[in-house]
């Protein structure tokens, strides 16, 4: 990959469901090392964009390029191995697995192969040690053996980020990582993500907490009704007339009444 080509690039991507157009001609680039926010009112299509990038959906039209490769038709299962990892808006950890087992599941694309499937993941396993180290870096070392279903919300939220990280991704996509976290937890999440970014991982987050967006992300993309309405520096986003209109609804107040 040349220094100039972006890590992720969407070109005229559209997606509809049963005649309802959800994403219309969205294009954007994310440079390697960027910290990008994807924002917009509820229903703007942010999570759909995540699902298109991670392969849950196939675009009706357009191209998605990642690390110099067209990935629109790559099966979702293989994308994490290319370096695309994500978290989910509603926590989707495996409730009956322990914390460390969830993280080891996140390593699946790294482990690969038939032989690794037959290898036990007990105390001395390299994978378990790596998973525990990763948890420790997130200050979660007291939890590895606990079954996820029994843990509080904020902790599970963090574990989901760590699970995505366990695949050693080039691009980390987080869907509302700060939702439901208190200000202290959000601050520690911010510092943690900053650390990941400094280590070279590109970050794309969907987030409603503008404090986190401003302090973490240098760039932002704003979606409204499935179209891109802003693509630029985060610090200017709140002065953009289209963005103000989307959120405050100067002319489209009725359409945005419940946004």
């Amino acid at each position: 990959m040349s220094a100039h080509s972006p890590l992720l690039s969407l070109k005229d991507v559209s997606k509809g469901f049963f005649g309802l157009q959800v994403i219309t001609d969205v294009s954007f680039d994310i440079a390697a090392g960027a910290r990008m926010a994807l924002i917009g009112p509820n229903g703007a299509g942010k999570t759909t964009i995540f699902n298109l990038i991670s392969g849950v959906y196939t675009p009706d039209k357009g191209q998605i390029n990642f690390a110099g490769q067209e990935i629109s038709l790559v099966p979702s299962r293989k994308r994490i191995g290319l370096g695309l990892a994500r978290s989910f808006q509603n926590i989707r950890l495996m409730p009956h697995l322990s914390v460390v087992e969830n993280i080891m599941l996140g390593q699946q694309s790294q482990a690969g192969g038939l032989l690794s499937m037959a290898t036990p993941l007990m105390g001395r396993s390299r994978w378990r040690r790596e998973a525990e180290d990763l948890l420790a870096r997130m200050n979660l070392e007291t939890y590895p053996g606990e079954v996820v279903a029994t843990l509080p919300y904020g902790i599970r939220k963090k574990i989901e980020v760590v699970r995505a990280l366990a695949s050693n991704p080039k691009l980390l996509m987080l869907d509302e990582p700060a939702a439901g976290l208190n200000p202290n937890e959000t601050a520690s999440l911010r510092d943690f993500l900053m650390g990941i970014s400094e280590a070279g991982t590109t970050i794309l987050i969907v987030e409603h907490d503008m404090g986190l967006v401003r302090s973490l992300c240098d760039q932002a993309i704003v979606l409204n009704f499935g179209r891109k309405i802003y693509d630029g520096l985060t610090r200017d986003v709140q002065e953009d007339p289209l963005v103000l209109e989307a959120y405050l609804g100067s002319r489209h107040a009725q359409e945005n009444a419940h946004a």
Partner: protein, 305 residues
């Protein structure tokens, strides 16, 4: 050892292996209600080979395992395209097809059944049950076991994590079928006679109950479930007549409610099953329970920042 206890131990060992055969696909979220069909394939493969060619037991049982495993993998591809209750019905239908085919097959004895030479003592089955238990515990501790349990919890996220969901499900189904085939082969040689009526839908239901009531989250579940539900009816067999005699001496024969006698065994078993489903829907042995019972915990690695 008395013949009675030898019989009980054989059945217990066979039921444990059978339960593990059903457990592995169930642990990946695939309910298999065709257990008796797979067991019949194993039993008839081994029994037929033994009766027709007089081959040694080790060969016939291995043959039963292979045939059942291969059939398991082959039908897994179409059958695992169905989900939930449809999968349950598909596996159930498979067992009915097997039963129908064997019933109308002359070489396999049809409704008459076949006598199986090559008798094996109870301890052979017990040794196999031990080996299978160790094997399943090992399997559940591997990455394969991890992916099985992950698929049980959330197939779509497992896929996004890079798990080849279909391959893992097919492998789980195939390994489970092979173990079920082993239980069938052991059955054929332990009881020297097999008839297809012995592999009916009730057998499939019972073995699924062993697994579901024992607990599907850990390898302890089927062991506890199969043991409990194999031994309980036997225990009730002597407890119930004693209770009846006791009540009769207290109230006389003319009580309004007939005191429970031996025939009440299955009433009690049924009531217990309902109670279990109400109070412990995740089974007798759950993951959290095993965690709590672990006295030795791996020493915390004490990582400091």
């Amino acid at each position: 050892m008395s013949g009675y206890w030898a019989g009980i131990l054989s059945i217990l060992a066979i039921n444990i292996i059978f339960a593990y055969g059903i457990f592995i696909p169930v642990a990946s979220g695939q309910l298999n209600l065709g257990g008796a069909g797979f067991q019949a394939v194993g039993a008839y493969s081994a029994g037929w080979l033994s009766a027709s060619f007089g081959l040694p037991v080790s060969v016939t049982i291995a043959f039963g395992i292979i045939v059942t495993g291969v059939i398991g993998v082959l039908i897994a591809f179409p059958i695992l395209r169905t989900k939930g209750v449809y999968l349950v019905l598909a596996t159930f239908a498979f067992a009915e097809v097997i039963a129908g085919a064997i019933l109308s097959s002359e070489p396999l004895g049809g409704a008459m059944g076949i006598s199986v030479p090559g008798y094996i003592d109870w301890y052979v089955s017990v040794i196999f049950a031990g080996l299978v238990t160790v094997f399943v515990f090992y399997l559940m501790a591997t990455r394969f076991g991890l992916t099985i349990r992950a698929i049980h919890d959330d197939e779509d996220v497992s896929d996004l994590m890079g798990v080849s969901v279909r391959n893992v499900k097919v492998a789980a189904f195939g390994i489970g079928a092979a173990l079920t085939g082993l239980s069938g082969g052991l059955y054929a040689h332990s009881f020297s006679y097999i008839e297809i009526q012995g592999f009916n839908a009730l057998v499939s239901i019972y073995v699924l109950l062993y697994v579901l009531l024992g607990g599907t989250q850990t390898a302890w579940g089927p062991l506890v479930g199969a043991t409990f539900f194999t031994l309980l009816p036997e225990a009730l067999r002597s407890v119930l007549p004693a209770t009846k005699n006791f009540l009769v001496t207290l109230f006389g024969e003319t009580g309004i409610v007939a005191p429970p006698d031996e025939s009440w065994r299955f009433v009690i078993l049924g009531a217990l099953t309902v109670l279990m489903m109400v109070f412990r829907p995740e089974g007798l042995v759950t993951r959290t329970m095993v965690e709590r019972l672990q006295f030795w915990r791996p020493v915390s690695r004490g990582v400091t920042q």
